[in-house]
Symmetry: C2
Subunit: 274 residues, 2 copies
């Protein structure tokens, strides 16, 4: 990756759940944990770009990852600073040289299945066709089961409060699979974006990694995984037709309905061993 | 509502699931149903507005409801025609007098939890504060259980293929609750928008209705329910903090975690009877 200068950053993670009173079917008041959800308005070089609704767990990584996945910045060293201020529900990003093609990219938008991400659909598919995922990495059933085990231990907000999705970046070694980072958010697209941002911050390449999501394998999820250069995608949920078509087109190894000792291998069989 | 002229419309519902081969943990190939997912690019008066990723079950209602929920049109009779053409994955809308405030509304956008919907966040909250939901309608536990029963019978795509969310519009009578319409889509925001569109097409007001969603009760879901004028919102999923805060602010009766004979009443207790 070369040496990058890390931007100046705030560290403004919020309290992730609150407890509210709710009445159950017996008329009893039960204290109930619910997930936080806050608007975070993104300004880049003092220009308002978008408002993201987020759990607030990793607002700096989310901001960087959103800019990365929108292709508005090309590398971390384009960013001078990322300052979150929850007093005004905003994050202010300063760049060294401005955003790339900002007028064009913020013009016509694609409202993807999981969220609106402002990318022209035709351009997105053209970009996807240029992605080359490494063919020489392998993923075994033992690693898959190891990943599932590790994920179960991490889903804390979901277990407490529901209403969030989780994403993990993992790496395999022998029969084991280690989680390098795990993010939860009220929107699964936010959780993916936070992973993309943190990968840059920690200097991780995607080529030898595994991406896990609790969410569905829609076109958006497959495209983002491929854009991060990650060759293996695992989910405990189902699959859509376009997710499947794009995964086959780019040769992504994709596993869904992974729960307990069950799973379905949908594409990219050549990387998988039992 | 007065008399409205129904627009000229195509009727271009697509096949909703396809069957693909997947390999299970025993290495067996199992035919697996997956949900369709297609890009649908919206043109209004020949101008490209957005691309929605959809299951394709109700593209005309989705289109009309999306324009309604974006506040780009104010009533059905502003629309002259809605023509879906899957050959080119697009829908062409013709209006009588153009869209409202299109430049302003398609400028800065809010990427909501479930999707990107292009509404300036501050404007959205100002609009929410003007909503008055009827106080004189009641919702009983018997009706809730009747609704849950009815919903169970409708979730066909979800049962077959997973990876979709469902929404229903229902009305109560005595102890029973009848489903007036039910839509599923790969994004839950699409399912809500299709309901909003079909309500206009069928001439339904929201004031005496109940809105059901399989999805989470995020700010977006609460705001859209209120914008449709519906005073009761039911979900089988959890709740976020902002969903709760907005529901209380506007006096919405909101029930979550509704499954079997269990539920949690989160807000608007005054309309609910056991």
């Amino acid at each position: 990756m070369g040496i990058t200068t890390r931007p100046l950053m705030s560290n403004a993670s919020r309290a992730l759940t609150i407890t509210i009173p709710a009445e159950n079917e017996h008329g009893e008041v039960v204290p109930t944990s619910i997930a936080g959800e806050y608007p975070l308005t993104l300004y880049v070089d003092k220009r308002e770009i978008v408002t993201l609704m987020t759990l607030g767990a990793a607002p700096e990584a989310l901001t960087i990852g959103w800019l990365r996945n929108q292709r508005l910045i090309g590398s971390l060293d384009e960013i001078a600073s990322v300052q979150v201020d929850w007093e005004v529900d905003s994050v202010s990003v300063t760049t060294h040289n401005g955003l790339r093609d900002v007028e064009e990219k913020l013009g016509t938008r694609t409202v993807t299945t999981g969220c609106g991400q402002g990318t022209v659909f035709g351009d997105l598919m053209a970009e996807v066709d240029e992605i080359r995922l490494p063919k020489d990495i392998h993923f075994s059933e033992a690693r898959l089961y190891s990943l599932m085990d590790a994920v179960r231990k991490h889903e804390s907000i979901y277990k407490q409060a529901g209403a969030v999705h989780g994403c993990a970046l993992a790496v395999g070694q022998g029969d084991a699979c280690e989680i390098l980072m795990f993010f939860e958010d009220v929107g699964r697209h936010n959780a993916v974006d936070a992973i993309a941002g943190q990968m840059w911050l920690d200097g991780h390449e995607g080529g030898d990694k595994i991406f896990y999501t609790t969410g569905r394998l829609t076109s958006e999820m497959v495209i983002k995984t491929a854009q991060m250069g990650i060759p293996v995608l695992v989910s405990r949920s189902g699959l859509t037709q376009m997710g499947w078509e794009i995964a086959r087109r780019i040769g992504l190894t994709m596993i869904g309905r992974a729960q307990g000792k069950h799973y379905l291998l949908f594409s990219g069989q050549e990387r998988f061993t039992r």
